[in-house]
Amino acid sequence: MSLADLAAAAGVVAMVAYAVLAGADFGGGVWDLLARGPRKSEQRAAIARAMGPVWEANHVWLIFVVVVFFSAFPLAWAAYATALAAPLRIALLGIALRGVAFVFRAYVPHHQVESRAEDRWGAIFGATSIVTPFMLGACVGAISSGGLHVATDGVVSVTGTPWLTPIALAMGAAGASLCAWLAAVFLTVESEGALQEDFRDKARLAGAVVLLGAAATVPFTRAGAPHLWNGLVGRALPIVIAGTLAGGLAYAAVITRRYRIARLLAAAQVVLVIVGWAVAQHPFLIYPDVTIASAAAPDSTLRFVLWSLPFGLGLVLPSFWLLFRVFKGDASRLT
């Protein structure tokens, strides 16, 4: 493995962290928007309680992904930013409004909860929680399917609208529905009684949507991104099978109310989906013109980015552990 491959792997690991952690937070927004039934406000409160302490830390993984990419693969980053300006802008606007809406809603001073102000923030929060993962998924679809071209002199061109092709849209939908599925499964662990049953219903619904969505992506991928398809049924096949298995078992665990196991399996499923995509897509950063090797920064920069990982993560991971232990642990008191 070259240095550039290692840096790309680090980027994928950060993507995975973002997808599992922040993905569930996006899903939380979806369920906030779709809160229904007699326990509507309890559902929202449970979502806010689960997300509150951790979502900002989760969100920062995206900045991490961006930073790894633009330090290690500046040419690819410049091409993404130019060719995918529209969906990235929408995603960005979504991220911005969403974070603001969540916190601002929590801080609308309680004595003046004219619930309309709260509702308005709530609607923004929910809508952006769907749009953002959709757009990010669509961007992944666009760079996998060959719609972006980068000439040897670095000039970027596109055929059609690569992020609106069927495969990009399918990947966008897959992204959004995976988030909803993750969130519902995670929330079953963090709630009790009738509320837990509510989230179980939502998890069953989302699980079914994910399954249908995955099935629907198959023909689009075969037709729209044959190289990716070959990778998925070729060298990435074991990962794809493991991911599918994890998803199926997670669904079964939800049905049988083994929520902790379901949480683990659903997270594993998302990890495997992304790793599978990355393995199938390798060595391309943008199919077919930009590879990991051709876009890589000089070795000294790569070396720095890689060397900083153990030190940086040595600080970050224990902090994360502390955060999750304090707010998500069983014995939720440190004292």
Binding site: G52, P53, V54, E56, A57, H59, V60, I63, F64, V66, V67, V68, F70, S71, A72, P74, W77, A78, A79, Y80, A81, T82, A85, L88, R89, L92, L93, I95, A96, L97, G99, V100, F102, V103, F104, Y107, V108, P109, H110, H111, Q112, A297, P298, S300, T301, F304, V305, S308, G312, L315, V316, S319, F320, L322, L323, V326, F327, S332, L334, T335
Partner: protein
């Protein structure tokens, strides 16, 4: 872009200054047990959270925007400034994690643990700022890389960090954040007291804000002096523009005020202090300082803008320094009582720190023009080839205006809520 940065600086400064104030207040609570310190720490913690979110989204927006608007700059400079940004990423993660612990941990951690959870928030907030300034320092005095066919090769990573501009600029900007935040916070509580809410909570908020602002303001000229010497060495054209110094001369005077007339290369209505500039820039009152005439016309920054912004920054800085010193003298002299005129002065001076911060940033950036990377890449060469830049700009402007309005509304709500609870 400049506009988003201008906004981002305000949020970032608050994100650097507020956690420090919050820690000081909670630390005092731990020592004295007085409730109003904890109340202040709670309020400031919430304000920090709001600001962090807005700072985080505006920072995310910027990192995308860098790619969207300046793809060539990013492709070129990415490998060099990347390491600073990578470290900034870690600092940011740590800050986010501990902010979560701090905000939601009031009842889950012991008071001491809770205070300790706040420390990384303040430290990494400061470090993020310092690291971003590191990237900017490289744009001011690029070092440590080779260039082949317009692509950066052979980056010497550590040279980026050993950049001569970095430490002076980092100290200068960190202090200016503390000044801006300290005086702004003090101003908020001064307004409260002017409206008749003269209680321990308001008085403490006022004094803590003033203390942070005053100490930083008094230290600031020392760091400003180092920056001036640095600019003389690395970017003489910038120094000349700041001072509207048109003609190269030995024993150059320093200019206070004045309106530069670029067409005729002279300054109207200014006060000249003999040999001042030579002394400040080199330590030798007779040293030769290069004037704008030494630089080709297309390599001169905008003199009017740089000079005025520089005057504003220095003027506001000294005014705040005087106010800070005066405040504590009056307070001592009157045994803790504060006359209304002093409260008025503090209230009116509240925005000055931010004014100085923005003005200083304008000097740094406008003074580097027409270069984006000094001496290496021109701003006009770095901008995106896309023609729809206007769309991006309009979108970001709208977003920032929206954020600013909502934020101000909520911060006001936060201040009010506390009032009604009392």
């Amino acid at each position: 872009m400049e506009l988003s940065l201008g906004f981002h600086i305000v949020f970032a400064a608050l994100g650097i200054g507020m956690p420090l104030l919050m820690l000081i207040a909670e630390g005092l609570h731990l020592r004295t047990g007085a409730v109003h310190y904890r109340e202040l720490a709670r309020t400031w913690g919430k304000a920090t959270a709001l600001l962090f979110v807005v700072g985080a989204v505006s920072g995310t927006a910027l990192s995308f925007e860098l790619g969207l608007l300046w793809p060539k700059f990013m492709a070129f400079a990415g490998p060099v400034v990347g390491p600073a940004f990578a470290l900034e990423g870690y600092a940011f993660l740590i800050e986010a994690i501990f902010l979560g612990l701090y905000l939601y941990g009031w009842d889950r951690l012991t008071p001491r643990q809770h205070w300790l959870a706040g420390v990384p928030v303040a430290v990494s907030g400061m470090l993020s700022g310092v690291l971003v300034v590191g990237a900017n320092a490289w744009m001011q005095s690029p070092r440590g890389f080779g260039e082949v066919f317009g692509r950066v090769v052979e980056v010497d990573t550590f040279a980026t960090f050993l950049n001569p501009s970095w430490i002076p600029l980092a100290i200068h900007s960190t202090l200016s954040c503390y000044i801006a935040v300290g005086f702004a916070v003090a101003g908020v509580y001064a307004i409260g007291m002017l409206r008749g809410r003269d209680d321990a909570y308001h008085r403490t908020g006022l004094v803590l804000g003033m203390a942070l602002g005053a100490v930083s303001a008094i230290l600031q000229p020392l760091s400003g002096d180092r920056v001036a010497k640095l600019v003389n060495q690395t970017q003489p054209a910038k120094l000349a523009a700041m001072e509207a110094h048109f003609h190269t001369q030995a024993g150059a005077p320093i200019l206070v005020g004045g309106i530069p007339d670029v067409a005729r290369s002279e300054v109207h209505y200014g006060i000249h202090i003999p040999k001042g500039l030579s002394f400040l820039a080199t330590g030798d009152p007779n040293a030769v300082i290069r004037g704008l005439e030494d630089f080709p016309v297309d390599e001169r920054p905008n003199v009017m803008l740089c000079h005025v912004a520089f005057q504003v920054m220095v003027g506001a800085g000294f005014a705040l320094m005087a106010l800070g010193a005066g405040f504590f003298l009056v307070r001592r002299f009157r045994r803790g009582e504060l006359p209304r005129w002093m409260l008025w002065a503090v209230a009116l001076a509240a925005p000055l720190g931010f004014l100085a911060l923005e003005a200083g940033w304008i000097v740094t950036e406008a003074g580097r023009q027409p270069w984006i990377i000094y001496g290496v890449m021109r701003t006009s060469d770095a901008v995106t080839p896309r023609t729809d830049v206007g769309v991006t700009l309009a979108m970001y402007t709208a977003l920032y205006v929206f954020l600013a309005v909502a934020l101000i509304g909520l911060l006001r709500g936060l201040a009010k809520k506390r009032l009604e609870a009392a």
